[in-house]
């Protein structure tokens, strides 16, 4: 029988998982050092973190600290004021403080971006892995997805908003519905090539079930493209929400979002650029950061790109 190293195990058992605290500390330490070694990721994460902090502050009673004014408070005397010490980003056509609205809009946009990215990733990856492996499911699901993809994204989203009504949750669901076929297709394409690899045969030869092969051997290999795609959808969802807002069917007016602020300033871009400009900057910065994070995460999480040894 195979044996031969009994008694050579050292006093410290290297196979025993260290206590949770030690593991967490180690995780944080490695996470921190990889982040420092990847400036793009660091930069992207800093911006996202900044936006997240702003969002949290606006939810809590600390809102007045960061936002100064109530974002929905009308002040008709102060309509369309240029940026000043009083109103840093100026005021809009109803006299609302653009700075406060932009700051409050941060949470809406992050909520939309994050929500869509998570929903699309979970559904898209699960579906993609299954249809990439099963021909029957592939034919049924992908024909349906093809049908959905044949609609122009925004038109489909418009139609769905018209049908379901415009609430924040609906906006997220609708953008997710529109994006899911793309994610499914990406994952499916990766799985189609992965399933022919020898290690899949090797896994079957060592007795792994189809479910195990799919979710344990194949799914981790789709990580890199999925992360990239998810970060694109994160940014894309914020943009689509803005576009829907721009068309007047997005997030309702009483919930400030970058999209509907930009939309409310679009007619005055020549006379009062600040209404659309400042939330636009926030939006562009966040989308840019999301893409940087996606790129960086892929480099960090894919062992083949990690460049160890």
């Amino acid at each position: 029988m195979i044996s031969g190293t009994e008694g050579t195990i050292a006093a410290v058992d290297i196979y025993e998982d260290p206590p949770l605290g030690v593991r967490l500390r180690k995780l944080v330490a490695t996470g921190w050092s990889t982040m420092l070694s990847n400036p793009n990721l660091l930069f992207g994460l800093t911006i996202i973190a900044f936006m997240v902090v702003i969002s949290i502050l606006t939810i809590l009673p600390t809102a007045t600290l960061v936002a100064r004014y109530d974002p929905t408070e009308l002040a008709l005397i102060d309509r369309v004021n240029a940026p000043s010490a009083e109103h840093w980003f100026g005021t809009d056509t109803l006299g609302r403080d653009v700075y406060s609205r932009t700051v409050h809009g941060t949470k809406t946009s992050l909520y939309v971006g994050g929500g869509v990215a998570i929903i699309v990733t979970v559904i898209g990856v699960t579906l993609g892995v299954v249809v990439g492996y099963n021909r029957v499911a592939d034919n049924i699901v992908m024909r349906f997805m093809d049908g959905m993809m044949s609609f122009p994204t925004l038109i489909l989203a418009l139609a769905l908003v018209a049908a379901l009504g415009s609430s924040l949750t609906n906006v997220i669901m609708i953008i997710a519905i529109v994006d899911t076929p793309v994610m499914t297709r990406v994952v499916r394409a990766v799985v189609l090539s992965l399933r022919e690899r020898t290690y899949v045969d090797a896994a079957r030869a060592s007795g792994a079930s189809t479910k195990r092969i799919l979710f344990f051997h194949i799914m981790p290999n789709t990580l890199a493209p999925v992360i990239i795609q998810a970060s694109i959808f994160f940014g894309g969802a914020i943009l689509t929400e803005a576009a829907l807002g721009f068309l007047g069917v997005g997030t309702p007016e009483f919930i400030p979002s970058w999209g509907n602020i930009i939309s409310s300033g679009r007619a005055f871009i020549r006379t009062a650029f600040w209404i659309a400009f400042f939330p636009g900057i926030f939006l562009a910065l966040t989308v840019f950061a999301a893409n940087l994070v996606g790129d960086g995460l892929r480099d960090v999480l894919d062992p083949r790109l990690r460049g160890e040894e």
């Binding site: 195979i2 044996s3 195990i9 290690y199 030869a205 060592s206 007795g207 079930s209 062992p303 040894e309």
Partner: protein, 335 residues
């Protein structure tokens, strides 16, 4: 060999449906493997060696492949009538397999330890902890330097030879009664090949595992196999003990294979004789012997009738009408 019969393949036929027609990749193949025995399965590329192995594992890609007939009796049970669940319990547990390409047979995003652990946890119900311990032992047994550290390595961080060592460790981890090594060393350096083969031989001897070595390298077979099956165009053309097949070949294809291997006692100015021609189209085989177009011994009968395996010696079978002439080395009477 008086050991118990481990594997009894009876009239196995595996066909592939392609646009060019049905390809009989494995056609009516029968052989027996006893416990602890090593069987060499030799032949050119595309002669059905690998498909035979995949059929035994029930891993023939389907579609387009399908096992159309036969029985594969493994330890008294027909693998072909088992449910998927039952077969899964055999794979990795009772039959281990090593694949040809060490570069792609390990999952690139999972650590060596993670992959080694899998069959142990799956089949032997070990905990993560136990499985990791066992994995270290296994890596040590296959001669992997610094096994503890290697458990946390990813496949791209180790060499091809080391990957093949990991594959051997994985295939043998549950101490299977049968190991199938499908061209396990063909992609490696010659020096590493020898090391890997020695490891396989050493470990399988210790566990008492029977081995099917699939290779086109007759030297490997000569060194390790007890019995030899020579396959050509989907069929076994000659089978027998290593000695009888190598010293007294009864099929012109075996003769051709042996003549194309360089040996030390070959005269300095002698030339190796390759087998002329190439493998016929498997989708469109001639009515007679599949080897007829490349054969030096062929007569009219070979064009018309396909020879069956007949006893040509003690437990030595060959499928050739002219095996007596082959044995006496009298080629030349061409049609």
């Amino acid at each position: 060999m008086t050991a118990e019969t481990l594997l009894d393949v009876k009239n196995l036929s595996t066909h592939f449906r392609t646009r060019l027609g049905v390809i009989k990749a494995v056609d009516n193949v029968s052989f027996v493997l006893h416990e602890g025995e090593t069987l060499g399965l030799v032949g050119e590329s595309g002669c059905g060696k690998s498909v035979t192995a995949l059929s035994i594992m029930r891993l023939v890609p389907s579609p387009p492949g399908r096992i159309v007939a036969g029985k594969i009796i493994f330890r008294g049970q027909d693998l072909l009538t088992m449910s998927e669940q039952e077969v899964r319990n055999v794979r990795g547990r009772d039959i281990g397999m090593i694949f040809q390409e060490p570069m792609t047979s390990l999952n690139p995003v999972l650590t060596i330890g993670r992959q080694l652990r899998e069959p142990l946890e799956l089949h032997l119900g070990m905990t993560k902890n136990q499985a990791l311990r066992k994995s270290t032992e296994l890596l040590q047994l296959v001669g992997m330097p610094d096994p503890e550290t290697r458990l946390n390595s990813f496949p791209h961080q180790i060499s091809g030879g080391q990957r093949q060592r990991v594959m051997i460790a994985m295939a043998l981890s549950c101490e299977p009664t049968l190991l199938i090594a499908d061209e396990a060393t063909s992609a490696l350096d010659v020096t590493i090949q020898a090391q890997i083969l020695e490891i396989i031989k050493d470990l399988t001897d210790r566990i008492g595992t029977a081995v099917i070595i699939i290779t086109h390298n007759l030297g490997v077979v000569a060194r390790y196999a007890d019995t030899v099956n020579v396959m050509y165009a989907g069929r076994i053309r000659e089978t027998g003990s290593l000695d009888s097949v190598y010293k007294d070949p009864k099929h012109p294809y075996t003769v051709g294979l042996l003549n194309s291997v360089p040996t030390l006692d070959l005269d300095a100015d002698a030339r190796l004789e390759p087998i002329r021609g190439e493998i016929p189209n498997l989708a469109d085989l001639p009515p007679g012997c599949a080897f007829v177009d490349r054969c030096d011994y062929a007569v009219q009968r070979c064009q018309e009738e396909d020879p069956e395996l007949v006893e040509v010696g003690d437990l030595h079978y060959g499928a050739c009408w002219e095996h007596e002439r082959v044995a006496r080395n009298l080629p030349g009477v061409t049609v």
